[in-house]
């Protein structure tokens, strides 16, 4: 019984409920009607006869009883017939009302990974079915967006991996193409190793990002001073800035304790500061600020560059997204620095964002205070 109940379609269950409720109500109604009629008849019988003495008093009573029996019979026979008829009507109604859901299911099934751009047709956006369809459509839209992102990433990644591979291959083929001097061989091998280095770093970085996505970054959280960390990164990268005649100005007057994995967080900060040094103009100042408000610790790094155009801002943290392809390559960038920074900050329950006006870009990292 229980099995039937759980496996039956909503249509059948609705009909069953409907029939059950109807039966109960009809029974009540019939019973009430029957007793009301009987009461009425008996009252009429018990009234003193007006005019002549009625000799057939007893017979009249019998007739009344007979009529009551008939009424009872009609009620008893009529009830199941009515219930069955109404149940059938209810079934048709339920089927009609639920038909759009079956249609929705069939439509949704048609939309597979290859046809994610398709959407369910919404006939009436305001009824229940319409709202359901709208929700499903939103889900499809999100799914389509992440599929697109994945496709783009896969294409980008294979492109990025192929470039060093084809360089290695080319150098090898060229080197073996003719007899060369030892110096040329050395150069060729060295150049191949440089590309291998690039590949290695790329694969490591992609692995790191994948781990971030899967949420399997293992963190060793401890209370660290964000101001201290900022100064440490500034000192480590200072030589790069000096090379470009830039100055790094660190404004971190007080201790800002945060609970984070030191290495992972340092990776994030190193990447954003490195980015600021690379893209800030020569002989400019890079401002690093560490502060705290009531709930958060805030790290910002600002360059004095031209800022980042609005069309790039939304995608700046995307993997392999480069504003200026040629420039980035020349700088030795993988196109993954900011993606790594984002992943590393988020692993530490923080947030990273970009504020860019015409004058300079500011990357802001916020972390919960320890």
């Amino acid at each position: 019984m229980r099995r039937w109940w759980t496996t039956a379609s909503i249509r059948v269950r609705l009909t069953a409920w409907y029939a059950a409720v109807l039966t109960l109500l009809l029974l009540l109604y019939a019973t009430a009607t029957f007793f009301a009629v009987r009461h009425e008849f008996h009252e009429q019988l018990e009234q003193p006869a007006t005019g002549s003495e009625d000799p057939s008093h007893a017979t009249a009573e019998e007739r009344v009883e007979e009529q009551l029996d008939e009424v009872l019979l009609v009620l008893i026979l009529g009830l199941p017939v009515t219930v069955v008829a109404a149940g059938f009507g209810g079934y048709l109604l339920a089927r009609r009302a639920l038909a759009p859901i079956d249609q929705l299911a069939a439509d949704a099934r048609r939309i597979t990974a290859d046809r994610l751009h398709e959407r369910l047709t919404v006939s009436n956006a305001h009824d229940e079915i319409g709202r359901l369809a709208a929700v499903i459509n939103e889900t499809f839209a999100r799914l389509e967006a992440s599929f697109d992102q994945l496709r783009r990433f896969t294409a980008d990644a294979s492109h990025e991996l192929r470039t060093p591979l084809s360089v290695i291959r080319g150098i090898g083929e060229f080197g073996l193409g003719a007899t060369r001097t030892p110096r040329e061989y050395k150069d060729a091998i060295g150049s191949m190793l440089e590309e291998v280095d690039r590949l290695t770093r790329l694969v490591d970085t992609l692995l790191r990002l994948a781990r971030g996505d899967a949420g399997t970054v293992r963190l060793t959280r401890e209370v660290i001073d964000l101001a201290d960390l900022a100064r440490e990164v500034a000192a480590a990268l200072g030589v790069l800035a000096e090379d470009r005649r830039q100055r790094i100005h660190v404004d971190a007057p007080e201790r800002v304790p945060v609970l984070a994995d030191r290495l992972v967080l340092r990776e994030a900060i190193t990447n954003v500061v490195d980015n600021a040094i690379k893209y800030g103009p020569a002989a400019s100042v890079i401002h690093i600020r560490v502060a705290r408000d009531l709930r958060q610790a805030v790290f910002t790094v600002t360059d004095e560059g031209p800022g980042i155009a609005a069309e790039h801002r939304g995608r700046i943290f995307d993997r392999f997204y480069r504003i200026d392809e040629a420039r980035s390559r020349e700088m030795g960038g993988t196109g993954l620095g900011l993606a790594i920074a984002k992943s590393a900050v988020e692993a530490n329950a923080g947030n990273i964002s970009l504020e860019s006006t015409g004058a300079g870009s500011t990357f802001r990292i916020t972390l919960p205070r320890a």
Binding site: L193, E194, V196, D204, T205, R208, L237, L263
Partner: protein, 227 residues
């Protein structure tokens, strides 16, 4: 010094064996877990280089059994997975060091030297190479008669290079050991190159034999010779 290499990837095993032989180690290669296990048990080695992913008997099993039998030969494990689990498990089971593939040969050689040196006193207060002298206590550097003024980072860098004199040092080794940055995804290569260029200007000015050499695609080495 006898070294056992347990590695099923034939090409890699060959390269490792050649590199170690070039450094005058006596090398034995085992291509399967079974063979490696058998040899490590039956023969005496000074060091075992053990791949973790082996057909037959896994590297971790070999390691575990060796240690259970109280064979305390130093073991350096190689792994392609840099998940923390493998590493921690390996070290817990008694490995002495680990390297994640793809590793640089100079680094493997440096680790092997360090493992074989273990136990011997290595406290030195002075490092010397050619006419270069480092006083590790006073943190002073003299080349010939000239006192050289170095920043703290430059000093550490030079010290590391001189400690590995005659051997190649990769950027990854420098990032990890001098900059204390174990994460490969952190962009430190440029920093290392700039820092190295500065150090060089101070140590090897024009007109004197150059001590710090760059080996393209590999790293740096302190040695005499090629100008």
């Amino acid at each position: 010094m006898r070294v056992l290499i347990v590695e099923d990837e034939r090409k890699l095993a060959e390269v490792l064996a050649s590199a170690l032989r070039a450094e005058h180690y006596d090398v034995v290669v085992a291509a399967t877990g079974e063979d490696g296990f058998y040899r490590a048990n039956a023969e005496i080695f000074d060091l075992v280089v053990l791949d973790l992913m082996l057909p037959g008997r896994s590297g971790l099993e070999i390691l575990q059994t060796l240690r259970q039998r109280r064979i305390e030969t130093p073991v350096l494990i190689l792994t392609a997975r840099d998940g923390l689990d493998d590493r921690v498990l390996g070290l817990d089971l008694g490995a002495d060091d680990y390297l994640v593939k793809p590793f640089a040969l100079p680094e493997l050689l440096a680790r092997i030297r360090a493992l074989l040196r273990r136990g011997r006193p290595s406290e030195v207060f002075r490092l010397k190479f050619a006419d270069l002298e480092l006083d590790l206590v006073a943190r002073r550097v003299v080349r010939g008669e000239r006192l050289i003024d170095l920043t703290a980072r430059e000093f550490e860098l030079l010290e590391y290079l001189v400690r590995h004199q005659g051997h190649l040092v990769s950027r990854e080794m420098l990032a990890r050991d001098v900059w204390k940055e174990p994460r490969r995804a952190t962009p430190l290569d440029n920093v290392i190159d700039v820092q190295m260029a500065r150090l060089r200007r101070k140590i090897d000015p024009e007109g004197v034999p150059r001590l710090i050499q760059t080996v393209r695609g590999v790293g740096f080495v302190v040695r005499e010779g090629e100008p």
